[in-house]
């Protein structure tokens, strides 16, 4: 494996492409995520953001191109192997483990993820992650008893419990009411302040401006802009892409 | 050469049966493990009518097909639709329908044993040789093959051309979107399932004219049909036909050159190779 240094990106995509039959959902995508960076992946609906995360996490295999984790290719690894190398994610449509308690859900990440723990150590770490995301006191609850935002917290804590090198969040803030949204943004900001490396797909503009160091903008599968949030959000092509969506 | 042609003749009838299963699994999304019993029932009907009144199996098809259609439609509405409705996931429906159709299959075998006993049944219909390309073949096999070709062709045209056929193909490809464009999915799934049963029963009536059946042979045909469907690709008509012909030829070769007791083993070996190397079917695209 390549020696990690501050100049090697944690995550790189090189010409990543995904075709579904005739549809090119992700088209020749290049970008890098650096250590401690929070990178936003934005774009209109159907522009290929979730598919990009799926390619990185190994849920889907790229049709072409390569994906590197700290310089080492992970393109043809299966999802579990990628998770063990340090990629953790949440899903756009929340996926929690319905038959298990909150603690067990989170422990799943601690036991099988990038840094593997077992027994008391796993429980202790899972508890710590639960507290970090604001689930203290709900550890013994079944996930079916939770509110929507709490299921999102469970998913996030499960991802954190594996101590990932890079965290992928797919619209983690979507569907929250204004109060919850404030809490959610504050939570992601805390993760950012801890120095975590995060790639997040987001629609909420406030969140993007306040959380992201840099953004990649996608439209119809391709990258159309990259830069700081202010730069890309004032880019005419980006505005056109978003307006185009509103026309449709 | 004559092995090849005998194999193709057998494969033609297999294609018909596998088309029936493919309609049920590919379109109605029910893995029907009682499919073979429908075939045996069709065969029984042909046997009985032939012995009772010298009715040609070709005519029996016209009687058996609508009856089987009605019966399978009922089975779908009464037994399977509730399972579809209660299933929380594709996986659960899969398990439930496997268990339920196994149940049906055993009940059907049990009832047929009760009604007709465990004897083999066969009759001789058109059991005379005809010569073709310099070799001789049994006329009944040729006739069954031609009938199978006609039925398969009609089915293919119906699926490709008619409105109902196209809707059925739409639910096979994308059930969610089909619902969105106003297709009544439960109704069409029931029709696809019923049609699958009718085609299989017709295949049974044809096959009984040259093969010996008994009440419990259904499972062998179920297994073969399943192997063909998976080999050809779920929902893929062209693939099913090619796979069925391939299986027919392979079986005939094994039976002629190695040992007739190994036909199922040969089919199974083919299945293993498909699973290992082309699990998406002969013509399928690799998706994941």
């Amino acid at each position: 494996m390549a020696v990690p240094s501050s100049s090697t990106p944690v995550l790189s995509l090189r010409g990543a492409t995904k075709r579904f039959g005739g549809l090119v959902a992700v088209n020749n995508l290049d970008f890098d995520v650096m250590e401690h960076q929070v990178m936003g992946l934005i774009g209109p609906n159907g522009s290929g953001k979730s598919t990009t995360l799926n390619l990185i996490s190994g849920a889907l295999r790229p049709s072409a191109g390569s994906i590197l984790l700290r310089g080492a290719p992970i393109t043809h690894l299966r999802a579990h192997a990628i998770a063990r190398r340090g990629v953790a994610r949440t899903f756009q449509l929340v996926r929690v483990l319905p038959s298990m308690t909150v603690l067990e859900n989170i422990r799943a990440g601690a036991v099988f993820g990038h840094r593997r723990r077992w027994g008391h150590e796993a429980d202790a770490f899972a508890t710590q992650m639960a507290e970090k995301v604001g689930l203290a006191g709900k550890l013994a609850m079944r996930v079916s008893q939770l509110t929507y935002i709490d299921t999102k917290r469970v998913e996030l804590a499960r991802a954190l419990a594996s101590e990932p090198r890079v965290l992928l969040l797919d619209e983690w803030l979507a569907g929250l009411n204004p109060t919850e949204l404030g809490e959610g943004i504050a939570l992601v900001r805390r993760l950012r302040d801890e120095g975590r490396t995060i790639l997040l797909v987001e629609h909420v503009m406030d969140a993007i401006r306040s959380l992201c160091d840099a953004c990649v903008v996608m439209a119809a599968g391709a990258k159309i802009a990259e830069g700081t949030p202010d730069e890309v959000l004032s880019d005419p092509e980006v505005i056109r892409a978003y307006l185009g969506e509103e026309d449709a | 050469m004559d092995i090849l042609i005998t194999g193709l003749l057998l494969g033609g009838t297999y294609a018909l049966i596998a088309m029936g299963l493919n309609l049920q699994y590919g379109m109605a999304r029910i893995m029907n493990l009682a499919n073979g019993e429908m075939l045996v029932a069709g065969g029984f009907a042909a046997f009985w009518l032939y012995n009772a009144g010298q009715v040609s199996p070709l005519l029996t098809v016209f009687l058996v097909a609508p009856l089987a259609f009605a019966l399978n439609w009922l089975i779908y509405r009464v037994m399977l639709l509730p399972l579809v409705r209660r299933a929380k996931s594709r996986g659960q429906l899969e398990v439930d329908s496997i268990l339920a159709t196994f149940g049906l299959s055993f009940v059907a075998v049990g009832l047929m044993l009760m009604a007709f006993g465990g004897d083999y049944f066969s009759y001789s219909y058109l059991a005379r040789p005809v010569s073709f390309l310099g070799d001789t073949y049994a006329l009944n096999r040729m006739v069954a093959f031609l009938a199978a070709v006609v039925i398969c062709g009609a089915l293919y045209l119906w699926l490709e051309r008619s409105r109902a056929g196209m809707s059925i193909r739409a639910i096979a490809v994308a059930p969610e979107s089909a619902r969105l464009v106003g297709i009544d999915v439960p109704r069409l799934a029931a029709i696809a399932f019923a049609l699958g049963g009718a085609v299989t029963a017709a295949g049974g009536a044809l096959i009984s004219s040259f093969l010996t059946l008994d009440a419990s042979t259904g499972v062998v045909f179920t297994l073969k049909a399943l192997i063909i469907v998976i080999m050809g690709g779920v929902g893929d008509v062209r693939g099913t036909i090619v796979a069925a012909l391939l299986l027919g030829v392979m079986e005939t070769f094994v039976a002629a050159l190695i040992d007739p007791g190994l036909t199922l083993a040969a089919a199974y070996l083919l299945f293993i190779l498909i699973l290992l190397f082309r699990p998406q079917g002969l013509f399928g695209q690799r998706t994941t």
Binding site: F112 | G110, V219
Partner: protein
Amino acid sequence: MTGQELRALILSTLALAAAAALPALGSSYWLTMGVTIAMYTVLATSWALFSGPTHYISLATAAFFGVGTYTTAIGIELLPYWTLLPIAAALGAVMAALVGFATLRLSGVYFVIFTLGLAEFVRQIITWVQNLTGQKGLYVLTDLTEKHIYWQLLGLAALVYLAGWLIARSRLGFALRIIGDDEEVARHVGIDTALAKIVLFMVPGAVAAVAGAMLAPRYIYIEPSLAFTPMLSFQVVIMALLGGTGRLWGAVVGVIPFTLLWEAISASFPNQTTLLLGVAFLVIVYLLPRGFVGLLEDARRRLGGGGW
């Protein structure tokens, strides 16, 4: 060990001791029933270990069982009986791993079909080989009596329960619960789901082969159609599901009533056993989707009891 676990341990030791005393009754009818029940308990419990969490329906029991029977039949001439049991276990496990490798990466339907054909496949191959060598069946002559077979099966049952208990407490057990809930999540937290399923499938493979090896001396004369009866696979599925796969002790709750019913039906209506199998499947799907265990647990909940 918690108090609850200790209680379970004491209870199961007592149950095992009571079961071991069955031959003392001196009734050959009940000893025969005991062998049958012990055999199905072993098979159904190990089946549920795999199929409970993964929801894959295995019909391979008869194939593994037959391979075990043949291990004894062929090996008894060459090796002492006791060495044949571990050999059968190894063969069953390897075969299960191969089957798992071919099918467990794919959907459940492929697995069912594959296992459905497996026993018949092996049977045809063995018959063919026997035809080539001109031999029909094999004799297994030992001085093992029904009583010895019964005790061996009880020992195997104890091992199966122990294995189930250990797996439930292991990483593998936790991984399987996650897979049972959501396989996509399982992969994304770092579980090699295909490997976990293959490893777990080796358990019923090995156990069924050992059971077959243990029962071979009872049959005395072994031929393919006897060793590879497809019915066996179906009976095991029904018993396990009838009992309920949610608990380790679930299978035996299905085994005992179904075995008694089966014996009664085959004694008075020998031609209706197929019908019985069919009806049992339908009862499971439509009336008892979680088996007797589910029924008991619902009753307990209604009576206001919380945990165990």
